[in-house]
């Protein structure tokens, strides 16, 4: 097991820069998830760590050693691929032991390791089957087994759950977490699914356009996003962004959304934003769960407004409501018993204690 470090790593394809100088330190035993939209460079980064792609510039270190020119087989890593990449002509046991056989491990040790990994992943009964005779979830377990038996320094996962159906994905996500709790190998996991990222990671690395937008624990990313991209990418449904500006009215700081709608900021927020120039074009960032039905007794920092709902989506435990506020589409989350109906008027409450304020031009969260 080892730590992994990336220093100013760049990947260029002809004149396209897929990865633009990223720095990343992954601690020993840590579970890191690289997340971002397709084309953001996350898979390329993983493949550079694996040695499957050359790096155009910078350094990659595994266990303190620079591995820029070390071939994949000598990096002591194991990788789980999106489509499993199991050898179709080999049985499960042969697939899992392939790497060890190539390294001429003693037969007894190979058998012991395969048996142990199969037990850990609950695939002992499948050991003599060919990949074709397995379901998607079982294949995924075998692919993980192949990684585990090698006992490598680092596990690399490249969107391993994308080919599974939704239910199995949730199940395998828990399996992966359990396996990591048991083997504690440093893990780099790539996904475009933010739920996977949030549930699995010790720390999440959000990537966009070949750069790292933010690194942090799932909670940090959710509650304290650094940029508009992170704020919009993490969380489902996504955060709402409403154009606004700050103004002083009678000694209190207000945010003005429209000519008709302006709210006084709660004291904590007012203190935080007081130094900002009043002329800047800003965005109010508010997650759907902070836009709820108005109750009779409003807490401090909660403001109400009236709107007409366009569409409602009953989800069972909550109802999502969609409406337009001065030309901006907005999503809120209300209680299923709050009486939200398509096309009906509704009084909603905005919890400004959980608001974010962003600079519209730079996209930075203030």
């Amino acid at each position: 097991m080892a730590d992994v470090a990336l220093r100013k790593v760049v990947k260029r394809y002809d004149d396209v820069e897929a990865v633009r100088g990223i720095d990343l330190d992954i601690a020993d035993h840590e579970f890191i998830v690289l997340v971002g939209p397709s084309g953001c460079g996350k898979s390329t980064t993983l493949r550079m760590i694996a040695g499957l792609e050359d790096i155009s510039d910078g350094d990659i270190m595994i266990g303190g050693d620079i591995v820029n020119d070390v071939p994949p087989k000598d990096r002591d890593i194991a990788m789980v691929f999106q489509n499993y990449a199991l050898y179709p002509h080999m049985t499960v046991a042969e697939n899992m032991s392939f790497g060890l056989r190539l390294k001429h491990y003693p037969k007894a040790e190979i058998k012991a390791r395969v048996t142990e990994a199969a037990r850990l992943l609950d695939i002992t009964d499948l050991i003599d089957r060919k990949p074709k005779q397995l379901s998607g979830g079982q294949r995924q377990r075998v692919a993980m087994g192949r990684a585990i038996v090698r006992n490598p320094k680092v596990f690399l996962f490249d969107e391993p759950l994308s080919n599974l159906d939704a239910k199995l994905r949730v199940q395998m996500r828990i399996e992966i977490k359990k396996v990591h709790q048991k083997v504690r190998t440093t893990t780099v996991y790539v996904t475009h699914d933010q739920v996977e990222a949030m549930t699995l990671a010790d720390r999440v690395v959000v990537m966009n356009k070949g750069r790292i937008e933010q690194i942090g624990t799932p909670n940090e990313l959710y509650h304290r996003p650094a940029t508009r991209f992170v704020a919009g990418f993490i969380g489902s449904p996504a955060m709402n962004f409403l154009p606004c500006r700050l103004e002083d009215v009678g000694g209190t700081l207000q945010i003005r959304l429209t000519d008709r709608i302006a709210f006084a900021l709660p004291p904590a927020r007012a203190a935080r934003y007081n130094s900002l120039p009043r002329t800047d074009k800003l965005l109010l960032g508010l997650r759907p769960e902070h836009l709820t039905e108005a109750h009779a007794h409003l807490g401090p920092g909660v403001e109400t407004f009236d709107t007409v709902l366009d569409v409602t989506e009953p989800m069972g435990m909550e109802t999502l409501v969609y409406f337009v506020l001065e030309g901006t589409p907005v999503c809120g989350r209300v209680d299923p018993n709050a009486g939200a109906k398509d096309g009906a008027p509704m009084r909603l409450a905005m919890d400004l204690n959980n608001m974010h304020l962003l600079n519209e031009a730079t996209g930075v969260v203030l």
């Binding site: 994949p72 050898y87 192949r146």
Partner: protein, 312 residues
């Protein structure tokens, strides 16, 4: 069976009506329609393949003047002749060596072409296919000219290195080498294109997984490429074995079986005896010998392909 039209049986209907409805039913069946559509091809195959095949079986049982039934007499006669066993040996050497080298060269070239960037690959693929698309009779004539003992390009070139002149088609061993060489030159592109298609269908991630598992270049070929290509290799080998075994034009043009019958294979020797020697029944007997040999090879190879097809 969904393809059977359901029609309630009309109880007590008159006999002719029932008959006609039976015919209607038969015509409505998918299997009947399929049979009717393939009928022209079936007739063509029957006329051009089955009839000659059975006719040659019949011919092989007649005497030279085709007047008298001699049973297995022709075969008994063949077994006693040394030339026959020479032809059997040569046919096997010719087919097995040629197929082996065609497969080997095809495999190596396919790998090279596979690794050429996609942009230039089409050009190379096209050029490398040229030997296979030229009618073999034409290209063999060109080879015959290259092999000419006194004025040929080969011997002229070799003379600069102090080698030769080599009797390319005049000496038994060199003549065997020459016919095999031309056959390999002609047939290797077919293997190349089949292997190339097969190589392209091997998922890239299997190689990446193998690279991470610690396989070197050779181990990747041995443990990934070859197992993934086994069916294609088996089928192309069988197909080529049949075609090479039954080869006629290359040997006929290059050596005509000479020197002293030392390059004759079944087809050329059957032609020599049957057409040139005017003993058609004996020629038919010679050519029939290819059937059991190829049938055994086909059974073995196809059984293996079938078995793996069920497995994977």
């Amino acid at each position: 069976m969904a393809d059977v039209a359901l029609q309630p049986d009309s109880v007590g209907a008159a006999q002719p009506v029932r008959k006609r409805s039976g015919l209607k039913k038969a015509l409505k069946r998918k299997s009947t329609a399929a049979f009717l559509m393939t009928l022209p091809l079936i007739i063509l195959i029957a006329l051009l393949v089955l009839y000659p095949a059975f006719y040659s079986l019949h011919l092989a049982t007649l005497n030279k003047s085709m007047q008298r039934f001699v049973g297995l007499g022709n075969f008994e006669f063949l077994f006693k002749r040394d030339t026959f066993w020479l032809v059997v040996k040569q046919s096997c050497i010719f087919a097995i060596t040629a197929v082996l080298f065609k497969a080997l060269i095809g495999f190596i070239v396919a790998h090279f072409v596979h690794n050429i960037p996609a942009k230039g690959q089409r050009k190379w693929r096209g050029m490398l296919l040229v030997p296979w698309v030229i009618p073999p009779a034409m290209s063999t004539l060109a080879w015959l000219w290259l092999f000419d003992p006194s004025y040929s390009a080969f011997n002229y070139t070799l003379s600069f290195f102090g080698i030769g002149p080599i009797p390319w088609t005049g000496d038994a061993d060199w003549a065997r080498f020459s016919v095999i060489l031309v056959n390999v030159w002609y047939g290797a592109p077919f293997f190349m294109i089949m292997y190339l298609a097969s190589l392209k269908s091997v998922p890239e991630q299997l190689y990446e997984a193998a690279a991470i598992d610690g396989a070197n270049w050779w181990q990747r070929i041995w443990y990934v490429t070859l197992p993934m290509m086994r069916n294609i290799i088996a089928i192309t080998t069988l197909f080529s074995l049949i075609v090479t075994f039954a080869n006629f034009d290359i040997v006929r043009i290059l050596t005509a079986g000479g020197p002293l019958d030392h390059t004759h294979i079944f087809a050329t020797w059957a032609f020599r005896i049957g057409i040139e020697g005017s003993d058609i029944p004996l020629g038919a007997s010679v050519s029939l010998f290819m059937v059991p040999i190829l049938a055994v090879a086909a059974i073995f190879i196809l059984r293996d392909v079938n078995k793996r097809g069920n497995e994977s």
